[in-house]
């Protein structure tokens, strides 16, 4: 009975750890890095003798995500669950795959602060489980081009300028003295 209770608590803690990790996941690149680390760990279990799973994860996973696993390992959580790392990594991999991608094209290369701001905004307005796929495209001049769930939004400065030029073509031609 006590053993069952312990296992149930361990499972809940594993799930909570996954949720915390996913909340901190901001971009597609981060997801790909974590996915790669998981693949390496899963494959390493069969090919690398005497190497612990958490060591493989430490090698490949960015620390900002690994720290959650470190905390978990420090409390001995994986050992309480009979499958140890295997099932946990499979669950994490499934959750990562289910995350939705919001594709954004910007005119500038975003820094960490900008990425954090964008991610917070999306988390606040659209909810969790969404990661950013950010591309830099100088041709748009400014603004963003956004694709999410098959919907496309062209909110770029370039598009706005072209629309204004088309709308006010006559006026512009008069201004520059072209008859």
């Amino acid at each position: 009975m006590q053993e069952q209770q312990e296992t149930s608590n361990a499972v809940n803690e594993l799930l909570e750890t996954i949720e915390k990790m996913l909340e901190h996941m901001r971009t597609k690149e981060e997801r790909d890095e974590v996915s790669f680390a998981i693949e390496s760990a899963l494959n390493g279990a069969y090919t690398l003798k005497g190497v612990k799973t958490e060591d493989i994860l430490r090698m490949h996973m960015p620390y900002r995500f690994f720290r959650f696993l470190e905390e978990m390992t420090g409390r001995g959580v994986p050992e309480k669950k009979s499958d140890n790392w295997g099932q946990f990594l499979q669950d994490l991999k499934k959750k990562l795959g289910a995350m939705e991608v919001l594709k954004i094209d910007l005119a500038v290369e975003p820094n960490e602060e900008l990425i954090n701001q964008m991610h917070s905004w999306i988390h606040r307005e659209l909810g969790g489980g969404i990661i950013l796929d950010i591309h830099s495209d100088k041709t748009i001049l400014g603004g963003i081009r956004i694709v999410y769930r098959g919907r496309y939004g062209n909110l770029t400065l370039k598009d706005r300028i072209l629309k204004v030029m088309n709308r006010e073509k006559q006026k512009i031609l008069e201004e520059i003295g072209y008859k």
């Binding site: 098959g150 919907r151 496309y152 062209n154």
Partner: protein, 486 residues
């Protein structure tokens, strides 16, 4: 015509990305508003059509000959597939999307576009088939008549003279004012060129629209070919013109439908064809018929072609199309090898609605010939025993030989119906009895040339045939006439 990808992207506001490409089928993510049969545009400017929707992806049939790259963007157009139609298409050879296949002969974009998928008109828009579709081929016009608006299946093995007969039927109908449409479905480039050259040689290419798809085209294009041809036929029908449409051939079309269905993991039915293969062809052939528009009749006469293997008429596609058409002309390989042209077997071939278009005299002639030929066929079986033949059997065989010489149309492209009736009267009666095969041929040739070249002879023959209300009157009239001065 270049399609503006970005225009649709800004207008519709939806985008998709190619996840997987399997031959002609493309699976894309995104496009949440996609609907079945909708046209989509790939980033490269190629077109596709939505064939299925699932929870996570959209299945698209690509019309591009080149494979679509994974990751390519796709945009919806919010339109079903339409093809340009207009009188300007006459004389052109186009692909199923309505573009000229010859880059040296482009044409300007046409104003009107019509949807390729159309619900066939209901019964109140149709009229009984009353007018005969003159093919100019004696055996067909007299024994197996086709009506204007009839769907008559042309069936037979490869190399049995089907294409030759079809081009002659086109010639005959175009000379009478109809519009011709030839749909070459998945044919080799050489075959397409040969058909084009024959039509040009007959000087009817300018009154014909050729809708072609090559054997190496995308499956989507081959699939679309007969539907595009039928859409163009409907355009001319709505202008009040009769149309003759040839669909050559539907066995290749069925194989393409099977290929697409199996790639799309549809459950295979009989012979691995999809379960809706009957519907695929039925909804096409039902668009032909005799229609009433603004009080006037205009017909789409359809000649679908189906190839058989070693004369097997009991195949799946063959029997399907036989059941949805109004008769069939069966081209027998054995008759072809014997030198019969056309190699149509009159005993196996059927016409369900053609006889009502014939005059009383023509029907009587048809009955007489069929009865005679059946009896002659039985006599051949008897004669093979090698016994001495009676006088009546020899006469019957000689008459049969005259009839077959009359039906042999190797040389003549087209014989008008009234001349056919007149010539039949000549060969059936005693006028040419006892003459050799060559003499009979020369007599027939003489009258054909006279009819074509001399308007007085033409008028006389037409008047004579119109005045003969029965076979007896026709034969007695011919017996009493002296042809030596003609």
């Amino acid at each position: 015509m270049k399609i503006d990808f970005n225009k649709y992207l800004d207008e519709i506001g939806e985008i998709g990305f190619v996840e997987k490409s399997v031959s002609s089928l493309v699976y894309a993510s995104g496009l949440p508003g996609a609907s079945p049969e909708e046209v989509v545009v790939f980033e490269s400017g190629e077109l596709g059509q939505v064939t299925a929707l699932s929870e996570s992806s959209v299945e698209i049939l690509s019309f591009s000959p080149n494979p679509i790259r994974t990751g390519s963007r796709i945009v919806r157009t919010n339109n079903c597939l339409k093809v340009p139609v207009g009188e300007e298409l006459l004389g052109k050879v186009i692909n199923p999307l309505g573009n000229s296949i010859n880059p040296q002969k482009p044409f300007f974009p046409l104003a009107e576009q019509r949807s390729v998928e159309v619900v066939p008109p209901g019964i109140k828009f149709r009229s009984t088939i009353k007018r005969q579709c003159e093919t100019g081929i004696s055996m067909i016009d007299l024994l197996l008549p086709i009506g204007m608006g009839q769907r008559e299946l042309v069936m037979g093995d490869q190399k049995t003279g089907k294409s030759r007969v079809l081009t002659r039927i086109l010639l005959s109908q175009i000379k009478q004012g109809s519009v011709g449409i030839y749909a070459a479905v998945g044919k080799s480039q050489l075959a397409i060129k040969q058909i084009e050259e024959i039509l040009a040689q007959f000087k009817i290419l300018e009154k014909t629209v050729m809708v072609v798809s090559r054997a190496d085209d995308a499956a989507g294009m081959i699939f679309l070919t007969p539907y595009t041809a039928m859409t163009i036929a409907e355009y001319f029908r709505d202008l009040g013109r009769d149309v003759l449409i040839v669909l050559d051939d539907l066995t290749v079309h069925a194989r393409t439908v099977r290929e697409i269905a199996l790639l799309g993991k549809r459950f295979p039915g009989r012979s691995s064809y999809p379960g809706d293969i009957f519907y695929t062809h039925a909804r096409l052939l039902e668009r032909a018929g005799n229609f009433i528009a603004d009080g006037k009749e205009a017909a789409i006469t359809c000649l679908p072609v189906v190839e058989t293997v070693q004369g097997d008429m009991a195949g799946y596609i063959q029997t399907n199309i036989m059941s949805m058409t109004d008769g069939h002309l069966f081209f027998d390989h054995k008759l072809f090898v014997e030198g019969r042209r056309p190699a149509v077997d009159p005993f196996i071939s059927v016409t369900r609605v053609g006889r009502q278009t014939q005059s009383v005299l023509q029907r009587e002639i048809s009955r007489e010939i069929i009865t005679f030929l059946r009896n002659a066929d039985k006599m051949h079986n008897f004669a093979s025993f090698g016994a001495e033949l009676g006088e009546h059997i020899k006469k019957a065989f000689e008459k049969e030989d005259r009839i077959m010489t009359f039906f042999d149309q190797t040389v003549y492209d087209r014989i008008p119906v009234k001349l056919q009736v007149f010539l039949f009267g000549l060969v059936w009666g005693e006028a040419l009895a006892g003459r050799t095969h060559l003499d009979v041929q020369k007599e027939i040739q003489k009258f054909v040339l006279l009819y074509e070249g001399d308007s007085k002879t033409r008028e006389w023959v037409d008047k004579f045939v119109d005045g003969s209300l029965s076979l007896e009157t026709l034969l007695s009239g011919i017996a009493e006439t002296d042809f030596s001065h003609r």
